[in-house]
């Protein structure tokens, strides 16, 4: 067992039958005044950094020019949104964002859970630690380094991927991976997995660590083998964590990324590589059109919040854990 990870991060299941609401009285406030004071800095923090910036959304309805005061800005209504949604590229860009977001989500989940389950089965602490450390180190590299590594290893001159595939006689000619749109999503997904799998595993390992060992003993007495224990004890044990993380990740579906696609993309794969963020950079920020960039941001936020609420609702219907 890994001592460093023994933090109990699993949220307790909420009580099914909620207590009747307690009326808020002056007495109650007075008796809890320390708690209220403690929450004030956090409230201020949230107001300052999460609500005040929403004011900037007004930019999306203007023809915003920096260095002019708010009163001098020109209001253009929904023009920026119209530009965004009517552009031929928008559907394609949205498709890419959603597709790569989904690939990252699903691959990220599956690989992290599988790795956590497998790591949990390793009894030698030394090996477990080694594997874990090696797998989470890439998390600390920036994307610019990772894409450099990816581009080099996919090169046709002396890229390791082509060399290995050639040696295994799987291909006859080196493949120019970055020139084919059909490979691009896969490359992005694989790079994500390589970079993040170890890091994502940590939380599941923590959840697994909090499972009562008595359950394993009981299962063993009932004649469960390793796989059965995995299926019927470990997995249900971390179900709550999985569901909560899933809901949260769905909210980030449109955050398919920007760096990987920007740095690995080129003219040949642009149809598969361009995401909303890149589109907004090209036609918004790079043109000094901050309003369009804001409109793109608003669109993403609205979609994300909707997805989050939907996932939460579905989860509630199914009687599973939920976030809100």
């Amino acid at each position: 067992m890994d001592e460093t990870l023994e933090i109990d991060t699993v949220p307790r299941p909420p009580k099914k039958n909620r207590k009747k609401k307690q009326p808020i009285t002056w007495r109650l406030i007075k008796s809890q005044n320390q708690l209220i004071w403690m929450s004030v800095p956090l409230m201020l923090y949230i107001i300052l950094f999460a609500y005040v910036p929403v004011w900037g959304w007004t930019m999306a309805f203007q023809n915003y020019r920096p260095a002019k005061s708010f009163g001098e800005q020109e209001w253009v209504g929904l023009k920026q949104f119209r530009f965004l949604f009517t552009d031929d590229n928008f559907i394609r860009v949205l498709r890419n964002t959603v597709a790569m977001g989904l690939i990252n989500l699903v691959l990220g989940f599956v690989t992290a859970i599988v790795l956590a389950l497998l790591l949990n089965e390793i009894k030698k602490v030394f090996w477990k630690r080694t594997v874990q450390t090696i797998s989470y180190l890439p998390h600390f590299l920036s994307w610019i380094i990772v894409t450099g590594i990816v581009a080099t290893s996919l090169s046709i001159n002396d890229g390791i991927v082509n060399i290995v595939l050639m040696k295994l006689h799987l291909i006859k000619e080196p493949i120019l991976w970055l020139s084919e749109g059909k490979y691009f999503w896969g490359i992005v997904g694989a790079s994500h997995v390589w970079k993040e799998v170890g890091w994502n595993t940590i939380i599941y390992l923590a959840a697994i660590a909090s499972i009562d060992p008595a359950l394993y003993e009981a299962a063993e007495i009932d004649g469960a083998n390793r796989y059965k224990k995995m299926m019927y004890v470990t997995l249900p044990g971390i179900k709550a964590t999985i569901v909560i993380l899933m809901i949260m990740s769905i909210g980030h579906l449109l955050e398919a990324g920007f760096e990987v696609q920007y740095l690995l993309g080129n003219g040949l794969v642009v149809d598969w590589a361009e995401t909303i963020d890149i589109f907004v950079l090209k036609y918004g920020l790079a043109q000094g059109n901050y309003s369009l960039a804001t409109a793109g941001g608003i669109f993403k936020t609205v979609v994300s919040v909707t997805l989050l609420l939907m996932a939460n609702g579905i989860s509630k219907r199914l009687g599973e854990e939920r976030l809100l």
Partner: protein, 562 residues
């Protein structure tokens, strides 16, 4: 209750004490510093000759990546001693647009910034004309003939002091920095220095050489390289205009004062079709459209690339590396290719005032007068010589009034590490500068001093030039005719966020997407890809782009004509 208040009292006492310690610590420091300065001040004042020099720092943003000079850099030290100015330089790291976006959003500008239309549009520079009139006689004189050209077309103010394009005296030129089809010297030598005028002849040579030498130094020979990465996209986009004998106007060809986008024209198609054929023959690097700039430079530096279309300054560093590796035969000769010999080449142009470059003073600068006075001082011939040639006796010698370098000085000047300690390269690059000749007739650019250029030539280069009967590599190009008044169209500001700018972004997106596809296509499919491409361009409102260019061309003709 008493106990509690006692505890509180103790706590506050501790807090108060620690605070007072911290404060007194700071105060003490300040005092000692103040003392040190006050004891030092008279010394410096007395050591400096006339008047006292007040030290001040100018913060500078340089819109290109670069290296900080060493702290004891010779030239910067002299500037500090004589004018009091030291520069706090910030070089670009990462993407320029992103950086500018952050700067503009935060209104966070240093005192001096290199010219950029985004910053102009954001109102980040102060107008300079009055400042120059009042405080900067040298600058006024320097720019006198170009005064109207420097004015921003949108509001008539001068925001930027252009760094290049203002000439004095005789202009010597031995180094061509612009676009051309480049070919390895070894290829020319192999075929006994043939005359190469047309695109077909050029690819013929490359094909024959590659057949003969499939490997160079153990690596496969690469016939032709096309860089199309981020904003460095001219390697793919710009060649067709030159092939029809037109100078570099960026994305348009201007005939009789009327601009047209050439990306989808037949003379462009002819070039890309040729590339398509060459690709089918395996002459074009397979990775060419996938690579980034670093990979491109690495390939050129390895000496395996026979040719490419590029601007000389863009791959200059790769040539330096080849020279260091002593592979002179792998460095390049620029050729002004055309479609057929009836067309006269017009690659070389007379240098133009670069309006999107140089320095502007930001709205945040506390003391613009001081800065403009500093720039004016540095415009003085004494400083200009220090910047371009260095210190007499150390960095160059004078023989019969002509500036020359010894071989050691020549080697030093080419050494990047030496430059960081002995040249003010980063700042001089963007300063207003004397170009052409100084008042004593010496060239302002050491490399352009004719006798210096000849003396510095490697034997291999001498051989190549002798074979063609030329004095320098510039002679491969036809002499440039006088520039049109509007020239060049690429320096026209399309205005951030305008329809024209959006159209030009769209156009370059389409080119980036379809041209590689067309070049790499099976020759039988080329036409269908091309049709698809031109259809898309028709949809992209290029009219708005052409209209804006034409409007500005007209404006320039009206306002710049003398």
């Amino acid at each position: 209750m008493g106990g509690k208040s006692k505890a509180t009292f103790k706590l506050s006492l501790v807090a108060l004490l620690s605070l007072s310690f911290a404060l007194s610590g700071c105060g003490g420091n300040n005092n000692t510093k103040g003392q040190a300065e006050s004891t030092k001040a008279p010394e410096t004042a007395s050591s400096n000759t006339p008047g006292k020099v007040e030290p001040f720092t100018v913060s500078v943003f340089l819109g290109t990546a670069g290296q900080q000079p060493t702290p004891d850099n010779k030239i910067y030290k002299m500037i500090k001693e004589e004018t009091g100015a030291s520069f706090d330089m910030e070089f670009l790291a990462g993407d320029i647009n992103q950086k500018l976006g952050v700067m503009i959003a935060g209104q966070d500008y240093p005192d001096l910034m290199t010219g950029n239309t985004k910053l102009t549009a954001a109102g980040a520079y102060i107008p300079l004309e009055d400042l120059i009139e009042e405080h900067a006689p040298n600058l006024k004189k320097h720019y006198a003939d170009y005064w109207n050209m420097m004015k921003d077309p949108n509001d008539g103010h001068i925001y930027i002091l252009p760094n290049y394009g203002v000439y004095n005296g005789k202009v010597n030129s031995s180094w061509y920095s612009g676009p051309a089809f480049w070919i390895q010297k070894a290829v020319l030598k192999e075929f006994n220095y043939p005359q190469v005028k047309t695109l077909d002849e050029y690819f013929d040579l490359i094909e024959k050489y590659k057949e003969k030498y499939p490997k160079i130094d153990g690596s496969p020979t690469i016939g032709f390289e096309i860089l199309n990465y981020d904003w460095k996209n001219w390697g793919l986009f710009n060649a067709p205009q030159h092939l029809i004998g037109h100078p570099n106007d960026g994305g348009v060809v201007v005939k009789d004062g009327v601009a047209e986008v050439f990306a989808d024209k037949d003379y462009a198609k002819r070039y890309y079709q040729k590339l398509n054929e060459m690709n089918a023959k395996g002459l074009i690097d397979k990775e060419t459209f996938v690579q980034n700039y670093d990979q491109y430079m690495a390939k050129l530096s390895s000496g395996t690339v026979l040719g490419m279309f590029d601007q000389h300054w863009n791959f200059n560093a790769a040539e330096d590396s080849l020279t260091t590796q002593n592979k002179i035969e792998r460095t390049y000769v620029g050729l002004p290719l055309v479609y057929d010999t009836s067309i006269k080449d017009h690659y070389r142009d007379l240098a133009v005032l670069n309006l999107n470059n140089g320095f502007g003073i930001s709205v945040n600068a506390k003391d613009p007068v001081k800065i403009i006075k500093l720039l004016d001082t540095l415009m003085d011939e004494k400083w200009q010589k220090l910047f371009s040639w260095g210190v007499e006796g150390e960095d160059y010698i004078v023989e019969n009034g002509r500036f020359m370098r010894t071989q050691e000085q020549r080697d030093n000047a080419a050494d990047a590490t030496w430059q960081l300690a002995n040249k003010a390269k980063a700042i001089f690059e963007y300063l207003p500068k004397t170009e052409g000749s100084f008042s004593d007739g010496n060239s302002t650019d050491a490399a352009a001093q004719p006798e210096e250029y000849k003396a510095g030539l490697k034997p291999y280069d001498k051989e190549v030039l002798d074979a063609y009967g030329f004095d320098s590599y510039v002679d491969f190009f036809s002499d440039p005719p006088p520039n049109e008044v509007y020239y060049p169209a690429w320096s026209i500001d399309l205005i951030e966020g305008s329809d024209a700018k959006i159209a030009s972004t769209k156009l370059s997106d389409l080119q980036t997407k379809f041209l590689p596809k067309a070049i790499l296509a099976d020759p039988a499919d080329f036409d269908s890809v091309w049709t698809d491409y031109t259809e898309q361009i028709k949809k992209a409102n290029v009219k708005a782009y052409e209209d804006k260019i034409n409007e500005q061309i007209k404006w320039r003709i009206d306002n710049w004509s003398k």
